[in-house]
Amino acid sequence: MIKTILNLFGSVGNKSLKFIANIGHFFIFCFSAISWIFRPPWYFKKILLQVIDIGYFSLPVVGLTTFFSGMVLALQTYNGFTEFNSESTVARVVLTSITRELGPVLTGLMVAGRIGAKMAAEIATMKVTEQIDALGTLGTRPMQYLIAPKIIASVICLPFLVFVGNTIGILGGYTIAIFKLDFNPDLYLFATLDNLQWIDLVQGSVKAATFGLIISMVSCYFGFNASKGAEGVGYATTVSVVVSSVMILTSTYIITALFFG
């Protein structure tokens, strides 16, 4: 009995130590990756390719998600607020919810699923097929050649994607308000623009850039440390999406608290 309890404590302790060690490795990796961003040579072609992949090819999925979210938000808000005769605040609620929270978070989660998984799988495959080892022996630093362009592109593209996502989300709300809920188009638009605040856009951009950093760092970290062949690639991909998503939701609270807490 005592031996079983001791084994249980041992196992928990061992896993806790491993977890703490992994966090330490992750931060060392982040520090190293960021330091390589500022050192020449910069691989502009690789950065551009990443910008196209992240910024351009993510537009459809981000657009669709935020458009329907805006629609749902307008509909739900209207249904709820009708009980208090506050239908006039629908435009404001849609605008604030999307620019402050839904736009950045949904964009972040979509990009984590699309780009984060791709980054992790690509780097993990390179790792298990010795391509990363080969890079190191061919006069190239893998951190600088592989990781830095992904981080730079993610941090640049996410604010752009969030801006586009916010606009499309607000348009989704507008569509429902005008065509289903019979709002006056001019009044709705005026209410939206009147309630638009710089702080919301700044906060959204800060969140977006942070999410870009999180997604690229986490995905590259798990990809870079992948092992065990195909199974390792699968694990790196899954865990990078899960961890990115959790970190996005955690950091959005911290940033909101910093701006509005």
Binding site: T125, M126, T129, E130, Q131, D133, A134, L135, G136, T137, L138, G139, T140, R141
Partner: protein
């Protein structure tokens, strides 16, 4: 190849020891490679051959011991100096390790392109000249690695390794997973590559036929250390039980 003039020591490994945790992988490894010499390293799977190679190319750091390339100590060398030293080596990995996102010609000139600015036209020309030297088809230049066979990928990996005329070529199981005919083609390619650029070579292999074709000297890694060394001819008549067993199991005809 075997008549090549033997010169100075280009790689010197002394008292190398490597452990992973409490597990000793390599212990008391001593050997050297002469200029123009072709050395084959044989040993059972998991005996530490690839670990030894990774120590030589700086991907792993030995616990103790010394690795000198051209009299320069590799162990604990600052990163920048190590990178410069590594440029003198040409390495092919077990599965080719070609970069999936680059075309074949871009793979071949990758090292040169990182060292100096080279135009697309010049780069392609350089890649073409290298694959011609290795008698490969120019049509593959604009393909991606996924569009060519495994055997062809290994040949391209050899082309990439010799680009920039390195002083030492290292081949990690170049014929593994290939049919005997393709394996023989790879061996010829290795001999041609070594001859063409006048480099020394280290080949890690299980293939005894390959050893007899490409090596001037053979070392056997067994029980974490070098348990036998000699020429391929000496290997065939060796009384060492491990060597006998190894030859018998991999190529009985060669032994008889």
């Amino acid at each position: 190849m075997k008549k090549r003039k033997i010169k100075n020591i280009i790689l010197d490994v002394k008292d190398l020891k490597k452990t992973f945790g409490n597990n000793i992988i390599l212990n008391n490894i001593n050997f050297n490679l002469l200029e123009g010499e072709s050395l084959a390293i044989i040993g059972a799977s998991g005996s530490g051959k690839s670990v030894l190679l990774k120590n030589i190319i700086g991907l792993l750091e030995p616990d103790t011991g010394s690795i000198k390339i051209n009299s320069t100590e590799m162990v604990n060398l600052p990163r920048r100096d190590k990178e410069n030293l590594l440029l003198k080596l040409g390495i092919t990995f077990q599965h080719g390790a070609l970069f999936d996102s680059l075309k074949i010609w871009e793979n071949i000139i990758f090292k040169i392109q990182n060292q100096q600015k080279i135009s697309k036209i010049d780069g392609r020309k350089l890649a073409l000249s290298i694959i011609k030297r290795l008698s490969l088809k120019p049509e593959i230049l604009d393909l991606f690695p996924s569009e060519i066979s495994g055997g062809m990928q290994k040949r391209v990996a050899i082309a990439r390794a010799i680009c920039g005329n390195p002083k030492i070529l290292l081949f990690d199981e170049p014929t593994s997973g290939l049919d005997p005919v393709t394996g023989s083609v790879i061996d010829k390619l290795i001999i041609t590559a070594v001859k063409t650029i006048g480099a020394s070579a280290i080949t890690i292999t299980h293939d005894m036929a390959s050893v007899s074709r490409i090596a001037d000297k053979v070392i056997l890694i067994d029980k974490k250390t070098i348990s036998w060394s000699g020429t391929p001819k000496e290997m065939l008549v060796s009384k060492n039980l491990k060597i006998k067993e190894f030859i018998k199991s991999t190529n009985p005809k060669l032994f008889s």
